[in-house]
């Protein structure tokens, strides 16, 4: 009896493990098999031409460039804010002090806040500051969303820097600020992983930019112009009743999948090398 129960559950466990790990391939397979057929060079090298949304020529370069602008801009801005925070809670504040713990808790919570809430908040700020939907508003909102990701990931990377190393730097007479520079240099791979992680989130998020970055058929040339983004371009084209346009949504989904996979796999490889060095 005990053996039977054991075996039943073992089979169930293996089945669910296989099911869950295969969903990734299922999703990628579905998107590729639907979208590869409509993917061509025009798609990724041209902006929409007249009548694009009723099936005429053009591509989604506007969305690709828009997404890159927003992602790069918000990652840079996010780093500017989050590196000092991570340094403060790891080097300036005493280990496990109240402030450090409360900061970590708030970032855990902020990490769980959905992007639609950030989007609504970003919209509120935007209206308050008198901005229109623009690249700038999009970047600010996405920055708010990715700061928790950056802080959490970098915090983890910096926490694994051995205490002995910090102590020897202090012993040489370095100030905390100088120690921070050394510690940061030591955790560069971890920081890089954090950047890629937030990059992946920022490029794939739609709900944040929906209210704030707007949508446009042209490539923005300044911060106060609206910007198209890849996820929104997929979303809008998919809701069209015209088959041609829908197919292009699938092709755009292939482009996004490839970008995201490259980012995630690179992050994975870097963090693997990181742990190799550490042990």
């Amino acid at each position: 009896m005990r053996k039977i129960e054991e075996n039943i559950f073992k089979v169930l466990m293996i089945m669910s493990t296989v099911l869950i790990s295969s969903t990734l391939f299922w999703i990628i397979y579905t998107i590729f098999s639907k979208g590869l057929g409509s993917l061509n060079w025009d798609m990724v090298s041209k902006i929409p031409e007249g009548g694009f949304y009723i099936g005429k020529g053009g591509g989604i370069l506007n969305a690709i460039i828009g997404s890159l602008y927003i992602t790069v801009g918000s990652t840079l801005l996010g780093l500017l804010v989050s590196i000092p925070i991570v340094i403060y809670i790891n080097i300036y504040a005493k280990n496990n002090s109240f402030l450090a713990n409360i900061t970590r808790l708030s970032y855990d919570i902020l990490f769980g806040i959905p992007s639609i809430v950030y989007g609504a908040f970003g919209f509120a700020i935007m209206v308050y500051m008198g901005l229109k939907t623009s690249l700038l508003a999009g970047i600010i909102t996405v920055t708010l969303m990715i700061i928790p990701i950056l802080v959490r990931a970098m915090d983890e990377a910096i926490r694994v820097v051995p205490e002995d190393m910090k102590n020897s730097v202090y012993a040489l007479g370095a100030t905390r600020y100088e120690t921070a520079k050394i510690v940061l240099r030591q955790s560069i791979p971890g920081i890089f992983t954090a950047i890629l992680l937030s990059f992946g989130r920022a490029i794939g998020d739609a709900a944040c930019v929906l209210f704030t970055a707007g949508f446009t058929d042209s490539i923005p040339t300044s911060l106060d112009q609206p910007a198209a983004t890849l996820p929104l371009s997929i979303f809008f084209q998919l809701s069209s009743p015209i088959q041609e346009v829908q197919n292009r949504a699938y092709a755009a989904a292939v482009v996004l999948t490839i970008i995201v996979l490259i980012i995630s796999i690179t992050a994975k490889i870097i963090s693997k090398n990181l742990s190799k060095n550490k042990i």
């Binding site: 005990r2 054991e6 073992k10 169930l12 466990m13 293996i14 669910s16 493990t17 869950i20 790990s21 969903t23 990734l24 999703i27 579905t30 998107i31 639907k34 804010v81 000092p84 925070i85 403060y88 300036y92 409360i102 900061t103 808790l105 708030s106 855990d108 919570i109 769980g112 959905p114 639609i116 809430v117 950030y118 989007g119 609504a120 908040f121 509120a124 700020i125 700061i147 100030t175 905390r176 600020y177 100088e178 992680l197 992946g200 794939g204 998020d205 739609a206 709900a207 929906l210 209210f211 996820p231 997929i234 979303f235 998919l238 949504a249 989904a253 996004l256 995201v260 995630s264 796999i265």
Partner: protein, 297 residues
């Protein structure tokens, strides 16, 4: 020379401290900002009417969120019912049974899954889950459905929250001391009995925390749900009915926000509602998880 270095150190100390405090206050600012924007709607109708009325007529300034709240609850409950057992089984397998090579192979796949953008889950849902429900599952139970249903939303959400639940559960299981397992095995319990009587019992708090986090993730997910749920402002009565969860409502109507009076305030109230619930859920489960981690190290 010495002074300059010390000065630099203390200046950066103050700047970094200020930044940290400011950034923590984002949590408060988020809540306050959304509350400030939803004051007009809270002034014009009572909270209970907003939450429990089903009348949704923006042009007549009647904003009853009940159908949307029910839509959110339906998809969230469905996703948890699907995701929790499967994630539990997978997490137990990976942490107790599987060879470490299997674990090394499967965990990166699950991590990759967590990196897939919501919109792609939505595309997959439209291409796979919706037709599956429409053609194969629903005909056994109901006469007609388009497949765009709360069930489709629940299934897609379940897959989106797998990685979150599994990664937390594995961490929780890893925190259970090996001695406890050894003790159980040495008195003749089978491995499954050990799992059931020792591992699961010891991890109840962690499992609850993981579930609550997953619920709050499912609660706020927008684009994927928007794409597969059908978005009819009605209270769903079966798995195959369309629903209209709160985040989808917010995302779908941003365009009209400026043109209809009170509409923007109503949507901001919906966002505030999401924020408050998710904030509480997250705070509770993070504190539980923090305690678990602390008790073992």
């Amino acid at each position: 020379m010495m002074n300059i270095r010390l000065l630099k150190d203390s200046i950066f100390s103050k700047v970094f401290f200020t930044l940290t405090i400011l950034s923590i206050s984002t949590v408060v600012l988020l809540g306050l900002g959304l509350y400030y924007k939803s004051i007009p709607i809270l002034d014009s109708s009572s909270l209970s009417k907003l939450l429990f009325s089903s009348e949704w007529k923006p042009f007549k300034e009647a904003f009853g969120f009940y159908p949307f709240i029910m839509g959110t609850l339906w998809v969230t409950v469905i996703s948890i019912v699907i995701a929790l057992p499967l994630s539990l089984l997978t997490a137990i397998y990976l942490s107790e049974y599987a060879h470490f090579r299997v674990r090394k192979l499967v965990l990166p796949l699950i991590e990759l899954l967590s990196g897939i953008p919501p919109v792609l889950f939505g595309v997959w849902g439209v291409l796979v889950i919706v037709p599956l429900i429409q053609d194969y599952i629903a005909p056994h139970f109901v006469e007609f459905t388009t497949g765009y249903s709360v069930l489709a939303g629940g299934v897609v959400l379940a897959i989106m929250i797998f990685p979150l639940i599994i990664s937390i559960l594995i961490e929780v299981f890893d925190n259970v001391p090996q001695e406890l397992r050894d003790a159980s095995l040495s008195v003749g319990a089978t491995q499954w009995q050990t799992v059931k009587k020792v591992l699961l019992r010891k991890s109840v708090a962690g499992i609850i925390a993981a579930t609550v986090l997953a619920i709050s993730r499912a609660f706020g997910e927008t684009i994927a749900v928007l794409m597969v749920c059908g978005n009819l402002a009605q209270i769903p009565h079966s798995l195959f009915d369309s629903g209209y969860p709160l985040p989808a409502l917010i995302a779908n109507n941003y365009g009209e926000m400026m043109s209809i009076p009170m509409y923007d305030s109503a949507l901001m109230f919906a966002a505030l509602l999401l924020f408050v619930i998710i904030f509480l859920f997250n705070a509770i489960s993070r504190i539980i998880l923090f305690r678990i981690e602390k008790s073992t190290t």
